[in-house]
Symmetry: C2
Subunit: 289 residues, 2 copies
């Protein structure tokens, strides 16, 4: 296999995700030069100070000039504007990709910006993350042994797909391809819905009269359960809005099941409770450990 080296990588939005990608590629000697672009100069300076990127700029044209790969790592809500800005200045020799958690939304944004999805745009989503945000939370090993899902379109250049596949493999990730809608459904189930439950639970408790005491008596299980409620609110707002069709389906399915469980608790329906808990325990033990 020929060596995979990115001469110039441009990261748009250098937070925990974009920063981790930079660190991972650097660690594995897969990149010569990394330029960071963003709208917040303080955060960009921090990214450079930490050695996550080599250069920083707030001029998009400079950032993408001669870039082999341009990675959109902003919250979803900022992507369409970036894509519109890219339209007239991006070279067809640069491969564009993203890390967004809703693929239909990003693909629609690309269509809106370019008229159709550019052949050199490879929608992608690494299934990894942390509840901590900002470039300070960037970790070189974030993607090791994790999945990255690509959702290329019918017209996507095969060589562009190969480039993005190689980039993520260089970070230690396992790369798979998936249909857009299926990606969005799977992510709604395994990531977006759990985040809604964690946020909603903590908020329910935080609005109770004795919230101070409530949280004092929370044990280790509660900390693990609610860890994802410490995630960035803007980012999760954007994901909710972007993937709301699939997420609402999952919320309704969960709501129905929780109503049934609530009724079973009310009625002390032992069979229902034990069956549900046993099914859940078996599923989790099988898949998660």
């Amino acid at each position: 296999m020929p060596e995979f080296i990115i001469n110039k990588l441009c990261i748009i939005g250098v937070g925990s995700m974009g920063g981790s990608l930079a660190r991972a590629l650097r660690k594995n000697n897969s990149v010569e030069s990394i330029v960071g672009y963003g709208r917040n100069p303080e955060r960009l300076i921090k990214a450079k100070d930490l050695g996550v990127v080599d250069e920083i700029t707030s001029i998009l044209g400079d950032a993408i000039q001669d870039a082999d790969i341009i990675v959109l790592a902003t919250p979803l809500g900022a992507m369409q504007e970036i894509l519109i800005a890219l339209k007239d200045i991006v070279s067809s020799t640069s491969v564009i990709t993203d890390v967004g958690s809703s693929k239909k939304f990003v693909i629609d944004a690309a269509k809106n910006a370019f008229g159709k999805v550019p052949v050199n745009f490879v929608p992608a989503h690494p299934i990894a993350g942390t509840e901590k945000s900002g470039v300070e939370a960037a970790k070189a090993d974030l993607f090791e042994q994790r999945r990255v899902i690509l959702t290329p379109q019918a017209n996507t250049n095969a060589s562009a797909v190969k480039t993005i596949r190689s980039m993520w493999q260089a970070c230690g990730a396992n790369v798979v391809e998936m249909q857009v809608e299926h990606h969005d459904e799977v992510l709604a189930a395994t990531s977006h819905l759990p985040h809604m439950l964690a946020y909603s639970l903590v908020d329910t408790l935080a609005r109770m009269d004795d919230q101070q005491e409530i949280f004092e008596y929370a044990a280790g299980g509660f900390r693990d359960f609610t860890r994802i409620a410490s995630s960035d609110p803007q980012m999760w707002h954007d994901i909710c809005v972007a993937n709301r069709e699939q997420l609402v389906n999952m919320l309704h399915a969960f709501n129905d099941d929780l109503q049934r469980l609530t009724k079973a608790v009310e009625q002390a329906d032992s069979e229902y409770l034990k069956d549900t808990f046993t099914r859940a325990k078996n599923a989790r033990d099988k898949f998660c450990e």
Copy 2:
């Protein structure tokens, strides 16, 4: 402070909780002899083989003979039967305590068994645990820096309370006292409700057509979020039934909030979503890290 030594400790139900208590007291040289009682001989033999207890017996009278402290560490559903069996044979010089997650239920069980709550019975609940069950999961440090809540009654012997307080302090725990109803409300909020959500979520996903694939794409956040769904179904059935009044209240409060959040996602109500997520993040960051 005079040294605290338990000459004979009797543990009824030597699982992860009773076993951790035994290991903690042993580690801190606070017990001379530990006898384990239970209905499953294989599990008792395992407890002895692992050195968690010194002696085992399936005869309750032998187990409690001359015990300074008798700890009920069975699932809640087994407690009333044990208390009835203790009634005619327990010495007034033994202090009885428990580790149950619903205090009203245990106190009612004691009333039902003894006619009134015995003066030498100190209801207690260590706020610590693991999703792993069985004596193999017992850990000497499980209670270090954790809270233990005592809910003594008006007629409880002060010296009995002091003994149980000392026992948990010897395990490194911080001991507090609380009203029964308040304990049950706090635990419904911080432990019982989260367990229902985790079980219900995993069960919802496990019943989806593509469950195999769904779980394959679950990331770290999902694993943390659903860890408590690997807890013992029988134990959690018992807790649901025992604390169902408080748990149903919390489930209804959560259901209402989740319905509102679902509606906000449907309507892409940015203000509601950002407010909720921000409130939750702030509360968790403040209390949990």
